[in-house]
Symmetry: C2
Subunit: 165 residues, 2 copies
């Protein structure tokens, strides 16, 4: 069973040192990941929370508030604060459900779509540059590790979105 060179069965990538590097990579990379949208949002009266709401409404037009709550993993009070300003400012349209009138279905307006595009263009540009620099093989690995890192509930959310698209 043991590898001739080390006796560690080739699991060098699982040393604490390797894991620590991965942890720090996640930390620093996430900063980059959010940096561009954050820059755009500052001065627009909105924050990261608004970005997230806009992103997932764009992703699943007509989604309900409960749905969004599950995806974002925050309380309805927290989400509602964000949603209210987006609706007041005319970025999001909230429509009473036809089949179940208790539910509110959420859609981006033209203005909302414009902001979404601005934010996601910036975020995608960075992602694209990183993907291009790393190559397709690395990207596949990137996605594999991230998916394995999610909580099961989040993985379900993620896969639901993945298919839905």
């Amino acid at each position: 069973m043991a590898e001739p060179t080390s006796g560690n069965e080739g699991l060098l990538f699982l040393t604490d040192e390797q894991l620590r590097k991965g942890i720090e990579a996640m930390f620093f990379a996430y900063r980059g990941f959010t940096a561009d949208p954050d820059r755009i949002l500052e001065g627009k009266d909105y924050g990261r929370a608004h970005h997230r709401a806009v992103h997932f409404i764009h992703r699943s037009p007509g989604t309900t508030v409960s749905n969004l709550l599950l995806t974002l993993g925050v309380t309805k009070q927290s989400l509602n604060r964000v949603l209210r300003t987006l609706i007041e400012d005319g970025l999001v349209r909230s429509e009473k459900g036809r089949v179940d009138a208790r539910e509110r279905h959420l859609y981006l307006t033209e203005t909302g779509l414009t902001l979404e595009r601005e934010l996601s263009d910036a975020q995608r540009a960075r992602m694209r540059a990183a993907y291009r620099a790393a190559g397709p093989q690395a990207v596949a690995g990137f996605r594999q590790v991230l998916e394995a890192m999610m909580d099961p509930e989040m993985r379900r959310q993620y896969n639901r979105l993945k298919e839905g698209g």
Copy 2:
């Protein structure tokens, strides 16, 4: 050069759809990444900010306040609030510099090391499970993409830490 199947030069991994998936993977995975330490910290009077400080002090014992400020990318007021409680509670020791007495060098105490271990054990356990599930090749790609996603300044920080270890 063109791939026979598509004529898109094999850059299918750079479609907006692929990039969007990567963006959502980052979002959901980061939640998992912070979930375990957050759980441990709640009820201990500390938060994510304390975790970060403890992590990087552990990582670079004797580091100065300015150094930590660069790494964490927050204001000194913000860091100081966190550092003060850690020092008061005896998790961190602050030592006047010998060569330059303006600087404070930071070290974890025994208690601090204990907390650090508890937090990083949890975080590493998740990382290890993800790495194991994805395999060494995927891990290499994961690290490549993350590194490419960082701001240059952060990449410098990251690599400094990498070598130093």
